[in-house]
Amino acid sequence: MIELRGLTVRYGDTVAVDDVSLELPSGVVYGLLGRNGSGKTSLLSALASYRKPSAGSVRVDGAEAFENPAVMRATTFIRDTVDASDQDRIRRVLCLAAWLRPGWDSDYAAKLLDLFQLDPRKRVSALSRGQKSALGVVLGLAARAPLTILDEVYLGMDAVARTAFYRELLADYLAHPRTIVLSTHLIEEVADLFERVIIIDRGRVLLHEEADALRGRGVTVTGPVAAVDEFVAGRTVLGERSLGGVRAATVYGSVPPADVARGEAAGLTFGPVGLQELFVHLTSSSQHLEVAR
């Protein structure tokens, strides 16, 4: 169990993470979603003990995480930059990881290098953006750390490489269950792999829920303006657009089947809202911030 209590990260006057408290059971795949500048990386840096919290605490299985060697050994934090010298060859980067990481699996690392077509003799400086990201994925997965944090590791990876990454992530998690925190903007691609989703906005937690419970949580209602307005009255509307006499409104919260049937009889059509679209609606304007709290 990871516990964040009143976690705050400040840079001068800027509050990047604002009094965040979360309880994260172990062995779960978390999706951390947030817009650029929402505080994702600051939150993850504090979670990984790369950064000392300005206030509050991170506890892993009851122990204070910051500058705690046991917690650090059990934590892997992969960012969009590879934590290695540019002059190092991949082989040496992996040797170092094997030395630092008690759970390191060399055979698995070799298999992943093959999968991503990374030549171990190559220097980090010679890698393309996508290859650097793939090296990050190799380091993140082969470490088999009980707490694995992957912060937008897919940058520059093409669709084939990303698909391979998601497949490996799931397969290795199934074989070696551990806590995985994955931050991403490509929500649609990985949403099915998350057990829980955390959405942060302006340094605060907007929502922390079972991912599957969020599916069907939003509904679009389309039809004649008057009928739509009547239907959405009293419901939480996340967004609306109109064209001529037709209006489409996105409603937060599940709509009971009886209401759907009544709406359809009144000439309305209902459509699903995916996780990514829900995320966009929840984080694109300030007035709806209270919805999910």
């Binding site: 779960v28 497949r167 799931l170 099915d192 599916r215």
Partner: protein
């Protein structure tokens, strides 16, 4: 395979029920493990487990400890009975409503149903 209309665990449960109804899954046949299912459909295993737990709750599947999950002997009959009950309200009534909207009379529908196909 899965869409955004609702939780995946319910879609998993529905998919397995359809397989039982169609006979693709036989009585007392073992179903995939949650991990196999998760790997095959590329979903989180907890989501798959929830779908299977729902089917155990509903009596469609039963567990053998340490071995896996199996289709209940009476699952197909029970599912058929439940679906038959809903057939007229969920399939026929909406069809009749659509027919009324576009001016197709009941006689025309009956004629269509009686026509050799």
């Amino acid at each position: 395979m899965f869409d955004d209309r609702g939780p995946i665990y319910l879609q998993i449960a529905d998919g397995i029920k359809n397989d039982v109804l169609s006979g693709a899954l036989k009585e007392d046949e073992q179903v995939m493990s949650t991990n196999q299912y998760a790997a095959f459909y590329r979903i989180n295993p907890a989501t798959a487990a929830k779908g299977f737990a729902q089917l155990v709750d509903e009596g469609v599947l039963y567990k053998k400890r340490g071995i896996g999950m199996f289709v209940s002997p009476d699952a197909r009959e029970k599912l058929r009975a439940a679906r038959r009950e809903r057939f007229f309200t969920e399939v026929v009534d909406p069809m009749l409503a659509e027919a009324a909207r576009i001016g197709i009379g009941v006689e025309e529908i009956v004629r269509h149903l009686g026509a050799p196909r």
